[in-house]
């Protein structure tokens, strides 16, 4: 059964409280980059959060990037700025202090310890050190109920199944106490490398390898928390991982490398509705254009915001759409959770993807002449066929019959 967690970010306002109190999110993954630990601790003194539904990602992986990106991270004076290979090899004193600090901070708000890990973009020392640090933390900080090994893995690593098998083998061999994995993909850039403007789009081979990787880890008896997700959380829920998380902004739903390099968009933010029937993050603008020809009530996800969305998408605020995203995710994950085994879950997800493709086909039939709209629809649905192909490949790789 998959639970949904909120990925903490800037400008949290009352977003977390509302989502948890209204019962469509199950907890939070906090980030010390966005808020100091003191402020997070204060926030945790409320009745909707407790040490079981709170996680604390130390965001240690930023230590390999330029310090100008740290935000609040180095408010903690032991944060290992621009960490080098030798720091862990030589058991650098400051680094060990940082681990002590992190364990202490984590324990003040959580029963789970997410162990510090580096971004893994090839099979090298960063991967080795990440595993060793996990083992070290499990051994040293005994008071936690569970331990999560951070696996922040570059998208490119998933291009080859051989690399994945090697990763899996090493994890299996090196990690003695198989408890939890805090996993996310480090994307090359937020939108993807092709010309397709679609957050979910990914080639089927890569995506099938990601599913295969998580499925295999699960079979090794790891609990899995997959962080920074958009609608692809549906696919992870399909393989029954324990937690998926996503935040209120796009950067909290897709962790991408371009955040680290340049800030080059202060563009206009678009209001987007999370449509479960379309399995898409659909712009209000496009829905408005579609509604001029056909009734768009088929695309709603069963949330309290649906009526307003259909009548006038602009009447909903950005904050409303942020909540709508979580409610929609909650609804579809509940459906998947209600299927008893992985085969049934896969069947269900394939069925809703196929249905979404049909909805898109129908819309495109109605807008053949309007090139701009039909192109937007093509873009918006581009991931769906990739998902179907990826599921097929995944089943073959994982030998799910």
């Amino acid at each position: 059964m998959t639970k949904y967690l909120i990925q903490h970010g800037p400008a949290k306002g009352s977003k977390i409280e509302k989502a948890i109190v209204d019962n469509y999110c199950d907890g939070v993954v906090f980030s010390p980059r966005e808020e100091t630990i003191e402020s997070i601790q204060n926030y945790c003194n409320n009745n909707f959060l407790n040490k079981n539904n709170t996680f604390y990602d130390p965001q240690f992986y930023y230590a390999r990037y330029d310090s100008s990106l740290y935000k609040n991270l180095d408010k903690n004076s032991t944060y290992p700025s621009e960490i080098k290979r030798k720091d862990w090899r030589t058991r650098d004193e400051n680094l060990l202090k940082y681990f002590d600090n992190h364990a202490e901070e984590s324990f003040s708000i959580s029963n789970h310890l997410i162990t510090p890990g580096l971004c893994i973009d090839s099979l090298d020392w960063k991967f080795d050190h990440t595993l060793e640090i996990y083992n070290f933390c499990v051994e040293k900080y005994k008071k936690f109920e569970s331990y999560y090994l951070t696996l922040a893995i570059g998208e490119n690593m998933f291009h080859s199944k051989n690399d994945i098998d090697e990763l899996l083998e090493d994890i299996n061999d090196e990690i003695e106490f198989k408890d939890g994995i805090y996993f996310f993909i480090v994307h090359e850039n937020a939108e993807n490398n092709s010309n397709i403007k679609n957050y979910e789009y990914m080639d089927e081979e890569t995506l099938s390898n990601i599913l295969y990787f998580l499925y295999k880890l699960k079979n090794m008896n790891f609990k899995i928390l997959s962080a920074y997700n958009f609608l692809n959380a549906v696919l992870f829920s399909m393989i029954d991982i324990d937690y998926v998380s996503g935040g209120w902004f796009n950067t909290l739903r897709k962790f991408s490398k371009d955040r680290f390099e340049s800030v080059d968009t202060f563009g206009i933010r678009k209001k987007r509705y999370t449509s479960i029937p379309l399995l898409s993050y659909f712009t209000g603008e496009l829905a408005d254009l579609i509604s001029q020809k056909i009734n768009i009530s088929f695309m709603t996800s069963g949330t309290p915001y649906d009526e307003n969305f259909i009548n006038d998408y602009d009447s909903l605020s950005f904050v409303d759409y942020e909540q709508e995203f979580w409610i929609s995710m909650h609804n579809v994950i509940q459906e998947i959770n209600s299927r008893q085994n992985i085969e049934l879950k896969i069947d269900y997800v394939v069925q809703i993807i196929k249905q979404a493709v049909l909805y898109y086909d129908n819309m495109m039939d109605n807008f053949i002449e309007e090139k701009e709209i039909s192109n937007k629809l093509k873009n918006s649905s581009a991931h769906l066929n990739k998902w179907l192909l990826a599921i097929d490949l995944f089943k073959k790789k994982a030998l799910i019959i």
Binding site: G9, A11, K71, F249, S262, F266, G267, K270, S317, V319
Partner: protein, 346 residues
């Protein structure tokens, strides 16, 4: 900015820190340099302080009414408010504001942890709601003296003498850069008007003022960039707005522009400026041609001058990795620029 309000704020903060004397007088600094608004404060011994306000939110083009501003006490409040009310990319604004605040904080730390590089900072507040904005304030010693810009404007002497003076300047500044980089600080806005000359009899010293606090600049209607500095004194990465990829090599590039101007009177970025192109590429293409010709105009070539020009060329490389690898290696090379043995008079 409402300077009257700023005076009151500074007075209140000074009093709360027990550094307030009744004899202080305030002077508004109309001649604004750098990216902060400031007022001078004088005590009865004519000791001069300067209070600065670094407005983090000023270049975000969003109108918020005065009543709503009352409730926005921090960057976080500000971001929450934007999220609720405006169709803007909060994530990017959040990153930009965090970077601005960080630049401010690093400057304060670097000022306190280095000697004689920056003016002394007496106190600072990292995040404060002031005059319908969020920003940081600090009170620091005011440096008496000319800026390098003012000095160069009036410098009339033989080019060789200028080169000798420039080398002395480079030796002092490169050591100071070593010191502040070791504190994880990048100035980002080195320019002749941000370098003060302290001429104590025959010993010239320099202090660096006004750090570059990120500026968020829209280059067209749909895309924005973060910027730290003046275009005329910028590295390519800064000019293009890649704020987060700025490191010590960016300060080295700008220093290359400054010393070239020191010697020739030519600001290369202004000279090669054309709309919609990167002047730095043009400079790079001309380093062995006109840029070199201007440098050697009115002066005889010598081993020292050739070496200096080679260093300038290395400082002005477009690719960061082609500049100096470490600040220490840069300072070491500068130390090898010695008048003794120069063959100018051979």
């Amino acid at each position: 900015m409402d300077y009257e309000k700023f005076k009151q704020l500074i007075k209140r903060e000074m009093m709360s820190r027990d550094i307030w004397k009744d004899t202080y007088t305030f002077q508004v600094n109309k001649n604004i340099r750098g990216q902060s608004k400031s007022i001078f404060i004088l005590d009865n011994n004519k000791k001069k302080y300067i209070a600065k306000y670094f407005n983090y939110t000023e270049d975000i083009d969003i109108k918020i009414n005065e009543n709503d501003w009352q409730n926005l006490k921090s960057i976080n409040d500000y971001l929450n408010y934007l999220d609720e009310n405006f169709a803007v990319q909060i994530e990017e604004i959040s990153e930009g504001l965090a970077l601005k605040k960080r630049c401010f904080t690093r400057y304060v730390i670097a000022s306190n942890e280095t000697t004689n590089v920056f003016p002394k900072v007496y106190f600072n507040i990292e995040e404060i709601n002031f005059d319908c904005s969020v920003g940081g304030i600090l009170l620091e010693e005011a440096i008496n003296g000319l800026t390098l810009e003012e000095y160069l404007r009036n410098l009339k002497c033989d080019k060789y003498i200028k080169i000798i003076e420039c080398i002395n300047f480079l030796k002092i500044i490169s050591k100071k850069m070593c010191e502040y980089f070791s504190k994880d600080f990048v100035h980002r806005d080195l320019s002749p008007d941000n370098i003060m000359i302290i001429d104590d009899s025959n010993n010239k010293d320099y202090k660096i003022i006004d750090p570059g606090v990120v500026k968020i600049v829209s280059r067209n209607s749909t895309k924005g960039r973060v910027k730290f500095c003046k275009d005329s004194y910028s590295s390519p990465e800064q000019y293009l707005g890649y704020g987060s990829s700025v490191d010590f090599t960016s300060d080295i590039y700008i220093l290359g522009i400054v010393i070239y101007e020191f010697i020739t009177g030519i600001n290369l970025i202004n000279r090669f400026y054309k709309p919609d192109i990167l002047p730095h590429n043009e400079i790079n293409a001309m380093l062995d041609r006109t840029v070199e010709d201007w440098f050697y105009e009115d002066i005889e070539e010598s081993s020292l001058i050739d070496r200096l020009y080679t260093i300038i060329k290395k400082m002005l490389q477009c690719r960061k990795e082609d500049r100096f690898k470490t600040i220490e290696s840069f300072a070491d090379v500068i130390e090898t620029l010695n008048l003794e043995g120069d063959d100018i008079n051979d």
